[in-house]
């Protein structure tokens, strides 16, 4: 699952090296066969995962996917039923939460209401028996880092939501944990604040060099912040990879649909080679209508195998065509059913003659008040071979 998809050009190393591509690299956090059950429900199901030092790793999934249970096992609030967690080679299983070199930023922030901001941040240091002057210095340092200088004497209740989020971050970072766990770190913020905070969190993560593991249900948050994303469903990892890998090369229909929008068609592999640009490639025949899908990558199944084809709306082009135009290879014809104008792009929903719907987005490159394509226009949707993703499941 963690193998590099074929044809992917390596991403520019804007965040330093990518240790997960190096088979020699020693993982920082290593999960093996990690399992947690609640009665009959398997919340986390035999997960194997390696996370490297300095990563901002995102666990992405819907509610009930097991991502929060996994995070709570890392913090020590849940005991694994099976499997192991090691951090820098040290087995974490027998270590209680108050002795783990791991800190957590809680979704509700869990700030102590009876303590000032400074006392909240210094709480962990007082438990370690750090000298008073040193605590004061490090608390001040953290307040500066999260841009809350001068607010140390306030009570958490007297702060705004965004400020509380920063206090929670400062409190969890002040002990310089080997691993920082973030449970929906931006979940309680309103939309306008969220984007600015995303960049700030990444900035702080890079400045402190701390390894972050973040749980989120928001795909945009995971995509913009994370070095790598693990998409979780039903307690298992559906796919692990960089945001671009997971988006461009989804491993399954579930991942393709969970991250962004995808048009999924069912088909049978007709030719397993040479249909695309180079030697690699596949030709898939639709089972629903008379059309072919060509891809420039090898299919996951041999000829005659039942597969799924996923195409992203932004990789398709829409153009007017004569009514009754037949489908072709990477070309589908139908009538415009719905139009959604988002400002930066327009999403067309095209109904094919058999009733299935195709979503096509089109950037609004020019200023326009009237759309060139409108409701009930006969259109053809086309895309290139590289946009066709052939999936086994």
């Amino acid at each position: 699952m963690q193998t590099q998809p074929p044809g992917l050009r390596p991403r520019a190393p804007e965040r330093g090296p990518e240790p997960w591509r190096d088979p020699e690299a020693e993982p920082y956090v290593r999960l093996r066969g990690l399992t947690r059950r609640f009665g009959d429900v398997v919340a986390v199901d035999a997960i194997d995962l390696d996370i490297y030092r300095g990563e901002l790793f995102a666990l992405l999934g819907g509610s009930g996917s097991g991502k929060s249970t996994l995070l709570r096992m890392l913090a020590g609030f849940e005991r694994p039923d099976e499997g192991s967690i090691t951090l820098e080679g040290q087995d974490l299983a027998p270590v209680p939460p108050y002795e783990r070199p791991v800190n957590m930023m809680f979704q509700s922030y869990a700030l102590f209401p009876h303590m000032s901001v400074a006392d909240n941040i210094g709480y962990g240091l007082r438990r370690e028996g750090v000298a008073r002057a040193e605590i004061a210095r490090r608390v001040e340092e953290m307040l500066e880092l999260v841009q809350l200088g001068g607010l140390g004497a306030r009570r958490p209740q007297a702060l705004s939501g965004g400020q509380r989020q920063r206090v929670a971050l400062a409190r969890s970072l002040v002990k310089r944990p080997k691993l920082l766990l973030l449970d929906e770190p931006l979940g309680a913020l309103d939309k306008s604040l969220r984007e600015a905070t995303q960049f700030e969190l990444v900035n702080i993560q890079e400045r402190t060099g701390t390894t972050f593991i973040m749980v989120t249900h928001d795909q945009e948050e995971a995509m913009t912040m994370a070095t790598r994303i693990a998409v979780m469903t039903d307690g298992r990892l559906a796919q692990v990879g960089t945001p671009a890998e997971v988006y461009e090369y989804p491993a399954s229909r579930f991942v393709a649909g969970f991250l962004g929008t995808a048009n999924v068609f069912e088909g049978i592999v007709k030719r397993a080679q040479g249909s695309g640009v180079g030697a690699a490639g596949a030709l898939v025949e639709s089972t629903a209508f008379d059309a072919f899908f060509a891809s420039d990558t090898d299919p996951p199944k041999p000829e005659g195998g039942r597969v799924f084809v996923a195409v992203r709306p932004e990789k398709m082009r829409i153009e007017k065509s004569a009514e009754g135009t037949a489908h072709g290879t990477n070309a589908l014809s139908g009538l415009v059913r719905d139009i959604a104008y988002y400002g930066d792009f327009v999403m067309y929903v095209v109904a094919l003659p058999d009733g299935s719907l195709v979503r096509v987005s089109r950037p609004t490159e020019t200023r326009m008040t009237e759309l060139p394509i409108t409701w009930n226009d006969a259109v053809t949707v086309r895309w290139q071979d590289f946009a066709t993703v052939v999936l086994a499941q």
Partner: protein
């Protein structure tokens, strides 16, 4: 807001206040008035405050003698100190017993909490007097407790339990425990368990987390429970009368004796007024300080 709503809202506030004015402040003023008059033989057994002198002048006669006696006679001062002491120790014992109880109920699974709370208030379904009487049966020389200890061979002769200070403490703690448990439960149940996880995450062992997070956050419940036990326990009459020894001269008992045996209504009233002041002034100061914080 319409006019009817405003009137309705004022009525809701005004009614309880009117009730308190009528049935609390009114009687208090009557008691305070009696405390300031001289004792007299007759019905009622005190002299009027306003009198016509022989020269037909209306004079106001205020007698502070009863209050003076309170401070002069060490018997009364002792009774106050003893009562405050007994009430304080009882409230403390209730706190020590009630806190773990309230904590356990707050941590119990939701479906069992109501049952446990019901068990706490179950004794109220029996008369207070009957429950105190029942303790006589348990504590007396031939009682249940001594019988059990004797048959187990732990003691050779019955222990003297009834009519001692021990019996008074047992009675007060037993009767007032629910008043401690309920407010404690109310604050502990509202405590966000995530705060304790945060404390553990930051390196606090369970006991440290309790001392630094649970205890300070349950302080309002501790104060409320302590007041609810301490205040009525200071003036408690029935329990020391039925379970205490003859030398257990607590304020409630002294008051009763002054009123019914000595028929010294001004003295008894002065005792009552002084008791109220002893309780109200420190509480008012405390409230003032707490509100400022």
């Amino acid at each position: 807001m319409t006019g009817t709503q405003r009137i309705g809202r004022r009525l809701v506030v005004a009614l309880p206040y009117a009730w308190l004015l009528l049935f609390f402040l009114g009687p208090f003023l009557i008691v305070a008035r009696i405390a300031l008059s001289e004792a007299a033989l007759g019905i009622p057994p005190y002299a009027p405050l306003l009198r016509w002198t022989e020269e037909n002048v209306l004079t106001l006669v205020l007698n502070l003698g009863s209050f003076a006696t309170l401070f002069d006679d060490p018997f009364y001062v002792d009774a106050y100190l003893r009562s405050l002491n007994v009430a304080f120790v009882s409230a403390l014992l209730c706190l020590l017993l009630g806190y773990p109880m309230a904590y356990a109920i707050a941590l119990a699974p939701a479906h069992r909490r109501n049952l446990l709370l019901l068990l706490v208030i179950l004794p109220f379904w029996t008369s207070f007097l009957l429950r105190v009487m029942a303790w006589i049966g348990i504590l007396q020389d031939q009682g249940v407790l001594n019988g059990a200890l004797l048959s187990l061979g732990l003691i050779d002769e019955p222990l003297r339990l009834l009519y001692t200070d021990f019996a008074v403490y047992v009675g007060i703690v037993y009767c007032y425990l629910p008043f401690m448990v309920l407010p404690l439960y109310a604050t502990l149940a509202r405590l966000d368990p995530v705060l304790l996880q945060a404390a553990a995450d930051l390196g606090a062992r369970p006991f440290r987390a309790f001392v630094t997070v649970t205890l300070p956050l349950s302080l309002p419940g501790i104060v409320a429970g302590f007041m609810l036990v301490f205040i009525p326990a200071v003036g408690e009459f029935v329990i020391p009368e039925l379970l205490g020894g003859p030398d257990a001269q607590l304020v409630g008992r002294v008051l009763w004796v002054e009123f019914f045996q000595n028929r010294d209504w001004p003295m008894a009233s002065a005792l009552a007024v002084a008791l109220l002041l002893v309780l109200v002034i420190p509480i008012a100061v405390f409230q003032h300080l707490a509100a400022r914080r």
